[in-house]
């Protein structure tokens, strides 16, 4: 009874008796030692193994399934002694070859490479190839790719890149390299015994010059492996960085419409919508959107491709693909540029119109200012929650809603009536277009008795596009009159600037008396005086002045 093991030669599996295996291995190792040039050696060894596989195949018969020692002897007779493989070119290296064995062994274990396994492919054989490379069942990688596909389509990107970069395992030697030496007990045993052998060899033949050369050789090897390790780190960094950038981009571009709702604001439906309401023309969005995606993703693809190439040590030519990408990218940039030039011309004219708003009871002593229910955004917008005005833009079938109207309440010296005016502003290609845009801004204000109801957002027809439309309500409060803040006032009267006290202040329910050019808070013990109330103005923020500070002249009074 003899123990047999199964071996893989050139992608063919044979059962071989253990002793025969040992002899075969020794034989091949000795042959290998004849060759010094690594590339040449790998190729020659692959050819020889191929021939051995062929000879084994001839030996196998229905009633003889196992390769025995005798077969190995016969094969040696056919192929020749290990020395027969040497040609004179190698003879000068021959004495060194023993010493080189460890290096050779290391390199052979490294020679495994990532290929696409088209024999077991679903699409391009990438999962199967990865399976061989990492010694894992290909199903594992298929599951990983499916999961990555769900994650904003990252799997697709990665798959396409690998498809581009990873060569197909066409030849038998590719297939051997792809399958590589599997890490198992045998190969570990092999490795250890080789190291032992070289150590004993070394101790036998150690003279000074060889020792020195050994040190030099070693430092070169160490240097190379450090370089390789560093470049691998870069490879991993590029790949993972690129994938993260891609995921991030997908979140920004598609927001909630991504397959897994991950993060992302819930008030903006993604970039396509923004493009539609910003760029001129009826249906510009698709072209711009595609260009935008290309401009942003191509560099990411390039980065990941570079990473993968470094990581798996690919050198094959991808010039055509690279040029195609470069051209597509330039075209996309060109398209975006053209659209943006056109867009800029749409902002050329700027117009502002002030409308006077009649009040039902302008002569009363107090005015209660409230904000209507916000049916588009929210009644409570946390100033910290805002990452910009884009969050307060919303679009439906007909209208664009913009949730940032400004409110400015000014204390004036005069006595008399409350006065309310609405300032509307817009840009446009021409002045008349800007005026047209202004006239179409819908910002309802309701005056009922001494109550004033403001709308929390402005509304404009979708075809007008976003042209920096903006609305400011100015309320002039004569000396001695009282302003009361009612429901939802904090939706509009709020401070996005980084002044600590206004954040903490909720205006709802407070009362303010206009005194000289400032407001005095009724019922409060402090003497803080507010010059004006302004919502997050781009130009004016209410200043908190304590009683001692000199007043600055209020320009707004001159209005």
């Amino acid at each position: 009874m003899n123990k047999t093991i199964s071996i893989n030669i050139s992608g063919f599996v044979f059962n071989i008796e253990e002793q025969a295996y040992e002899h075969l291995k020794q034989y091949l190792d000795k042959i290998r030692n004849n060759f010094n040039n690594e590339e040449e050696r790998d190729e020659i060894m692959a050819d020889i193994e191929l021939r051995i596989a062929e000879l084994f195949q001839e030996k196998i018969a229905p009633n003889k399934e196992v390769i025995v020692d005798e077969d190995i002897v016969q094969i040696q007779d056919i192929l020749g002694l290990p020395e027969d493989f040497a040609s004179d070119e190698d003879e000068k290296y021959h004495t060194e070859s023993d010493e080189k064995t460890t290096n050779d062994q290391n390199q052979t274990t490294k020679s495994k490479r990532l290929f696409r396994d088209t024999d077991n492919a679903t699409f391009a054989g990438i999962c199967s190839g990865l399976g061989y490379y990492f010694n894992v069942d290909r199903v594992v990688f298929r599951i990983i790719f499916i999961l990555l596909f769900i994650l904003f389509g990252t799997g697709v990107l990665l798959y396409i890149i690998l498809w581009l970069v990873v060569p197909e395992a066409k030849t038998t030697s590719d297939k051997i390299e792809m399958k590589g030496g599997a890490v198992n007990v045998e190969s570990i045993k092999e490795h250890v015994s080789n190291i032992k052998q070289t150590i004993s060899d070394k101790s036998k033949s150690a003279n000074v010059s060889e020792k020195v050369r050994g040190v030099v050789d070693k430092s070169v090897v160490v240097g190379l492996s450090v370089f390789q390790a560093v470049s691998k780190v870069f490879g991993v960094g590029f790949t993972i960085g690129g994938i993260f950038m891609f995921v991030f981009l997908m979140i920004i571009l598609f927001g909630n419409s991504g397959i897994i709702p991950f993060i992302g604001p819930d008030r903006i439906d993604g970039i396509p919508m923004l493009i539609e309401i910003i760029y001129p023309g009826q249906e510009p969005s698709l072209l711009i959107f595609i260009s935008l995606i290309l401009v942003l993703t191509i560099p990411i693809i390039a980065l990941v491709t570079l990473g993968v190439r470094i990581l798996f040590n690919y050198r094959q030519n991808i010039k055509i693909v690279a040029w195609t990408f470069a051209i597509v990218w330039s075209v996309a940039i060109g398209i975006l540029f053209a659209y943006n030039v056109q867009l800029a011309s749409n902002f050329k004219s700027d117009k502002q119109i002030r409308y006077s708003m009649p009040l039902e009871n302008a002569g009363s002593d107090e005015l209660i200012i409230s904000v209507m229910e916000d049916d588009q955004f929210s009644n409570h917008i946390d100033p910290y929650d805002n990452w910009g005005a884009a969050e307060l833009v919303k679009v439906d079938e007909e209208f664009i809603y913009f949730g940032l109207p400004q409110l400015k309440i000014i204390a004036i010296q005069d006595t008399g009536d409350f006065r309310v005016s609405i300032i509307k502003e817009s840009h446009g290609a021409t002045t008349s277009e800007a005026i047209n845009n202004i006239e179409r801004i819908d910002y309802p204000i309701i005056s009922k008795g001494n109550k004033l109801f403001l709308s929390p957002y402005l509304k404009m027809p979708k075809e007008d596009k976003l042209r920096a439309q903006y609305v400011r309500v100015e309320i002039l409060v004569p000396r001695g009159k009282i302003v009361k803040f009612g429901e939802n006032i904090d939706r509009v009267l709020r401070h996005l600037d980084d002044e600590p006290i206004p954040y903490a202040t909720h205006y709802e329910g407070t009362e303010w008396i206009s005194l000289r050019t400032n407001f005095y808070k009724k019922g409060s013990g402090d003497y803080n005086l507010y010059k004006t109330f302004v919502t997050n103005g781009d130009e004016l923020i209410d200043k908190i002045l304590d009683g001692r500070t000199e007043e600055e002249p209020d320009e707004q009074e001159e209005d």
Partner: protein, 111 residues
Amino acid sequence: MKVENTKAQMRKGILEYCILTILSNKEAYPSEIISEMKEAKLIVVEGTLYPLLTRLKNAELLHYKWVESVSGPPRKYYSLTEAGAEFLKELKNTWTELLTAVQQISKTHQK
């Protein structure tokens, strides 16, 4: 100077010449080349051939293509490249020259 070395060097050049000659009129895979050379008693074992073929290929004198085999692993079918054909032509000339030279010298010095 060992006679073994001289023999090996002589044989090496001739082997290359013979391989190129065999491949000059047909494609062949290693075993075919070997059987021809064995018949001519040029080599006895196959091992000598593989490194030579690889080196000739790397020198771009030969190229090969994979051909699936019915009964085993695929085979490398080698053939001459244009450079190989050119190379062979020169070798042939040199060989004829050498042959005449050697024959002449051997004849005059025959005892």
